[in-house]
Symmetry: C2
Subunit: 195 residues, 2 copies
């Protein structure tokens, strides 16, 4: 039976973006599958008393260099967006609406690129509609769908589930009872998949 | 010319312990040398407004599992000590006194093992003397030496230097103008050494 790695992500998190560029490969080369799970980092922070890592000035300065170093290491594009942070509630609900149409990963990847590589404000409905069109989805329909209560509830449920499992930040991973936090834990995840 | 990686460590930090088990190998296999630099994590926290990562309960719970996962990944012994945290001022000064006798690394490694693998309270002078004897040093002499102002100053200077470079936690690394924080950045350091 193939192992399933739950990958909880928020489009607002640069480290979740970095992990999103690797997680499928890490799984594929170990006979596992990544299940992308949209959640809300703001909700996780609120539930756990955690906060943005950039609170400490020296840490914020380091983070900029660290993100560049990881993107060079992975060979993926990265540029810290001028428009930061974003309110990711709408974009994350849109991910769930795309999931219903079998295009969660495609949309999430396109949104990550649009924001973390190209600097487009993905909390703007016009940008969302454009990115959706790029992956063959009807942006107007998606934006209408996210006003429905069941989509709102689903995002809340994913977030609560992650918090129950032990999440306090993003990206967050769950694999067969083990939890991992951070892009930098992918080597540990790979090691666990191999065992 | 061989590259030199500055490795700032505090014996009180479990992630610095984990890094200490790998840093020499990472350097050796890339034709570089690690220069072990004792510093005081408490001083770094004070200077930068940072604090122990265990402030958030979910993070503290995760840290226990994370430390176990890294020790299994590296294949090194680890057990969270009952006596935690320690005041590392004396142990770190002792490292500097050992450095004068050409035994900094030997003593630091023995102290790390004594605390993070065997649970011995290495802020206790009797334990310090025992560990020192194990690596062929005179514990009484070391403990006398750390009362001298120049040793006290040297620890303060190392700490201030790290803070100037951008440190806000441990372990902290400096390589030719680039800085890295955390045991989990060793893959990035290795990548940088290869470039």
């Amino acid at each position: 039976m193939s192992k399933v790695l739950d990958f909880y992500f928020d489009l607002a998190s640069p480290y979740a973006y970095l992990a999103s560029t690797q997680v499928d490969d890490v799984c594929a080369r170990n006979g596992a599958t990544a299940r992308w799970r949209p959640f809300l980092l703001g909700g996780v922070f609120k539930a756990t008393g955690n906060e943005m890592p950039a609170r400490i000035p020296a840490k914020a300065a380091y983070m900029q260099r660290d993100l560049q170093a990881w993107s060079a290491f992975y060979g993926v594009p990265f540029a810290f967006p001028a428009h930061f942070p974003i309110n990711s509630v709408k974009p994350m609900r849109v991910c769930l609406a795309a999931e219903e149409q079998g295009k969660l990963r495609e949309l999430a990847e396109a949104m990550y690129r649009a924001y973390w590589a190209e600097g487009n404000p993905i909390d703007d409905p016009a940008v969302i509609a454009e990115v959706a069109a790029d992956v063959g989805l009807d942006g107007e329909k998606l934006l209408a769908r996210i006003e429905d209560q069941d989509i709102k509830n689903r995002l809340k449920e994913n977030t609560e589930e992650a918090v129950r499992l032990g999440a306090f930040g993003a990206p967050f991973f769950h694999l067969d009872g083990q939890i991992f936090w951070g892009n930098d834990r992918l080597p540990l995840i790979e090691h666990t998949l191999k065992c």
